[in-house]
Amino acid sequence: MIDKRVQDPTRAVADIHDGATVMIGGFGEAGSPIELIHALIDHGARGLTVISNNTGSGEVGLAALLKAQRVAKVVCSFPRTANSTVFPELYRQGKVELELVPQGTLAERIRAGGAGVPAFYTPAAVGTPLAEGKESRLFDGKEYLLERWLRADFALIKGRRADRFGNVVYNKTARNFGPIMAMAAGVTIVQVNTVVEPGGIDPESVVTPGIFVDRVVEVATPLHESELVAAGATYP
């Protein structure tokens, strides 16, 4: 019997330790595992390194985690969005470190971490300030930068459906970083709207095979970040 279900978000994140590196899925609100992030805020781990494409909006979800000053460092491509004030303020105050990574390089570094590829070359950012301090090399006369893999202790991601083996399918563009973060973390925690029995997901359509998933939490009706922000909500 294999059963990766965990009863609730609180139990799912209970062993995230101070100083952990945590990948958090989502592109804007699409795919942001807001209930897992809120459970992480309640849990209280500090000094986290967060790898995520954005830095949240309003004062809920990822932005609330930042606001609570649990994050020492952010690795991301776009820490600035509409309704994003928390990160800019902390950054200007020197209270959070930023590693800015081009979005495709961020995705590929995460995928490399999951695929056991310690480093690879990319043409992105050659000749720009983001190439500073990086090794470069010519292949077939063209210049590329050497980039290292990214791995994490935990990944928090959001799917649409999963089975108890951890096979996951996603909802539309909420897929984004979920599948690659699932590959790159020691412990991958997925919140999904629905848990089904093994066989309830067509094996031809599985996006994240269960081998990449450690814990599955059902959150039947997840909150929508944009609605919370529009309503001026804060967490906790």
């Binding site: 509409a82 495709g104 992105a124 720009t128 690659i180």
Partner: protein
């Protein structure tokens, strides 16, 4: 329209329409946020383009009807969109494999500065208190087959955006193929900027004066 007033040349819609004329049927296209998005409205009759959005969708359609959207079906600008028949969803590494691997035919971007050697600056003014944010721009310019810029010819304060060398931090080196402004269509060639077409009523000298790098005639 006057060659000497503030209103010389094409409107934004006309710029987008002019650019759309140059995109062949069947192209895979990534449109940046802002003026680039307008291009989709002006694709000539009889042509089908397939839109890629780097957050994981090929076959992106227009905005949904009111209350018909899904907050998890969005574009790179984080606005709700739709998916057309024949669309496909994929994850971020696959999406940027399309970009980096040279599978996207064209991307259209805005610009702060374009240099006559094809350098682009469009992500940061380099000011010390700015929050740096780059998104997918560096990957797009490095990987997409053709990269077009659509922009006002000068900044709001009248500074030329087409320059000899970019002074803002670069997005990419030697990556721009063509620029569409309200005044003209201009190619980036090995010899530098070269005029392709003037907007109706705009004279070559007028464009040249507002371009901070040599501009070759057709």
């Amino acid at each position: 329209m006057s060659t000497h007033g503030e209103e010389a040349g094409w409107t934004r819609d006309e710029m987008a329409r002019r650019l759309a004329l140059d995109i062949p049927n069947g192209s895979y296209v990534n449109l940046g946020i802002g003026i680039p998005e307008l291009v989709a409205r002006f694709v000539p009759e009889g042509r089908t383009l397939i839109y890629h959005t780097e957050n994981g969708l090929l076959g992106m359609g227009p905005s949904p009807a009111p209350d018909a959207g899904d907050p998890e079906l969005i574009n790179a600008g984080k606005r709700q969109v739709t998916a057309l028949p024949g669309a496909a969803y994929f994850h971020h590494a696959d999406s940027f494999a399309m970009i980096r691997g040279g599978h996207i035919d064209l991307c259209v971007l805005g610009a702060m500065q374009v240099a006559c050697n094809g350098d682009l600056a469009n992500w940061s003014t380099g000011e010390p208190d700015a929050i740096p944010a780059v998104g997918g721009a560096m990957d797009l310019v490095a990987g997409v087959k053709s990269v077009y810029v659509i922009t006002q010819h000068c900044t709001k304060t009248g500074e030329p955006k087409l320059v000899e060398r970019c002074t803002y931090p670069l997005t990419g080196r030697g990556v721009i193929n063509r620029v569409y402004t309200e005044l003209a269509v201009i190619d980036v060639t090995p010899e530098g900027f070269r005029l392709v077409e003037l907007a109706p009523g705009v004279e070559f000298e007028y464009v040249k004066e507002r371009t901070a790098a040599p501009l070759l005639r057709r």
